[in-house]
């Protein structure tokens, strides 16, 4: 019976997952000949496409992707945790329903709509254009583009982070916080030394999910990076759409996949190894 139920997934999903990954691996080893679409089938297999990625100028794109995603996910955590705490601990039934509806709504709202909304609000003519100037960032500069990418990534990650953390906080006994305060601990100390400390595994898991989500984003840098900010996803897309260098794009894809999967499961494993209850 069990095996019978599993077969549809193995017949339908497994080929759709394994097929593309295997052909990517194969394609990445083909020599690239300029002017044609796809690798040269007649040529001998080569590691040239990977050697090209190892060149130092590519390091910049990887570093930009990691750095900007880290900042965005980090800021989303800073804003998301208090919000999640508010929903889990303070909001009454109606408030909770409204806020949860808002979060799920933002999560469901098309990413393009949200990036567009950020672009028109924080853009040069938008009502919030002064925000960048607070930090001395001119809208037309590369830093301005980076700020827009960070704000857009944050905006798209926030509901995901907050919802995950609501789940975490709900599984921590609120009596512990009450106990700390009734013993005379100030609110801030209770918050950091009891609530935050107890939810650390959940915070780290949520952070890793948010980070992975930012790392693989294609739309945000494409729409608001203005060519100054390119993520690895954008490089892969341009290999496909602009130069038709399929072997090069395939090699980049394989590297990106290995890095993302290793980072995701590696970090998650680290968290789980140190805190048993993490990731539940």
């Amino acid at each position: 019976m069990t095996a019978l139920l599993l077969w549809p997934a193995l017949i339908i999903v497994a080929p759709l997952l394994l097929g593309p990954l295997l052909v990517l691996g194969h394609e990445s080893l083909k020599p690239f000949v300029g002017g044609r679409i796809g690798g040269d089938d007649a040529g001998a297999l080569t590691l040239d496409n990977y050697a090209q990625i190892a060149a130092p100028e590519y390091a910049r794109y990887f570093l930009d992707t990691f750095r900007i995603s880290f900042i965005s996910a980090g800021l989303a955590m800073v804003l998301g945790f208090p919000m999640a705490h508010f929903i889990a601990r303070r909001a009454g039934p109606l408030m909770r329903r409204v806020l949860m509806g808002g979060l799920v709504g933002t999560l469901f709202l098309s990413i393009i709509v949200r990036v567009y909304a950020i672009a028109v609000s924080f853009g040069p003519l938008g009502p919030l254009s002064g925000f960048g100037r607070l930090f001395g960032i001119a809208p037309a500069s590369p830093d301005g583009a980076e700020l827009m990418v960070v704000l857009s990534l944050m905006n798209t990650t926030l509901p995901l982070v907050a919802l995950t953390l609501v789940g975490t906080l709900q599984n921590i006994n609120p009596r512990l916080e009450e106990a700390a305060m009734s013993l005379g601990a100030p609110r801030w100390k209770t918050f950091f030394q009891v609530t935050v400390a107890m939810s650390l595994p959940g915070i780290l898991s949520a952070g890793i999910i948010a980070y992975a989500f930012c790392l693989s984003n294609l739309v945000v840098p494409m729409l608001v990076g203005r060519g100054f900010i390119l993520f690895v996803s954008n490089l892969i897309y341009s290999r496909f759409s602009e130069v038709a260098n399929f072997p090069g794009g395939a090699a980049l894809s394989i590297v990106m996949m290995v890095v993302s999967v290793a980072l995701f499961y590696g970090l998650l494993h680290l968290v789980r190894a140190n805190w048993q209850e993490a990731g539940k």
């Binding site: 759709l16 508010f86 028109v120």
Partner: protein, 284 residues
């Protein structure tokens, strides 16, 4: 300890509490403002009467961008395609994903966890990688039809959502209910249909809704698989936004927002919003 010393400590504790409370509430407010204001700006701009994107707020209002959207076949073709693809992909993923989740929740063989991780991996492998791989895979199989390729890609990304939420909702269901039905003489398929599936219903619905939304909004995979005649709405939107920052997109955004609000109300009615995170162990 003197009285004044105790009073002093109490006072500084109160001040620290007040400061903390202010910082806490400002972060909560900042969260809401940062999520809400851009959306409100887009809504207001969609009614802008000017023919260009000018300084905010608009000086006059009109429905011109909505009329322009309604007159544009490009978006409507994209919308129809997106609806077809998301519906087909979600239907397939819901059936296959629910069955797989039930199978895995009972399986005892070695490698169960590995199989589960592998089936959920489209959540972790970047969309762009899956999209590019699917493009080359389809071309080697000789599939050049955009619709077929898009549906293949979308089944792959909707499936993990259904499987994950169904698996989560199965955790709370005791296997003894199903076994009781069997011991009373019910055939396995009937016990599954009449006992297990109804109990897991909210999880399946939530998974299907999440899967549908993910498919409908997907760009990372779709952008590789569209052809000249078959494109999805987000891909059409993206192309338009890169070409010109026209306010038709603001009008379309408002339609998206209304549709999202309706979806949330329906989800709240049918499954309850708490299905997303649950009520927790100490649920109030």
């Amino acid at each position: 300890m003197s009285d004044s010393h105790v009073n002093g400590r109490l006072l500084s504790k109160r001040m620290a509490d007040a400061l903390f409370e202010a910082a806490y509430l400002s972060l909560v407010t900042l969260f809401i403002a940062f999520s809400l204001i851009p959306v409100l700006v887009a809504i207001v701009l969609s009614f802008d009467a000017r023919s260009f994107i000018g300084p905010f707020p608009p000086t006059a209002f009109s429905l011109r961008w909505y009329e322009r959207f309604l007159a544009d076949n490009y978006y409507q073709d994209g919308l129809v395609n997106s609806l077809i693809i998301a519906t087909v992909a979600t239907l397939v993923a819901t059936v296959v994903g629910t069955l797989a989740a039930i199978a895995l929740s009972r399986a005892t063989f070695r490698g169960r966890a590995l199989l589960q991780a592998a089936l959920l991996s489209p959540l972790v492998v970047p969309n762009v990688v899956l999209g590019f791989g699917m493009l080359i895979f389809a071309s080697r199989l000789g599939i050049i039809d955009g619709m077929t390729r898009l549906i293949m890609g979308h089944i792959l990304i909707t499936f993990p959502y259904v499987m994950r939420t169904t698996a989560a909702s199965l955790v709370g269901i005791k296997a003894s209910y199903y076994e009781a039905a069997l011991s009373l003489g019910s055939p396995p398929w009937k016990a599954l249909w009449q006992i297990t599936l109804p109990l897991a219903r909210t999880g399946i619905i939530a998974g299907a809704v999440f899967g549908f939304v993910t498919s409908f909004d997907n760009v990372g995979i779709s952008i590789f698989l569209t052809d000249a005649f078959t494109f999805t709405l987000p891909v059409a939107l993206l192309a338009q936004m890169r070409a010109n920052l026209d306010l038709t997109i603001a009008a379309l955004s408002v339609i998206f927002i209304v549709a999202t609000v309706l979806l949330i109300v329906v989800l709240d009615r049918v499954a309850g919003l708490d299905v997303v995170v649950g009520r927790g162990v100490y649920g109030r």
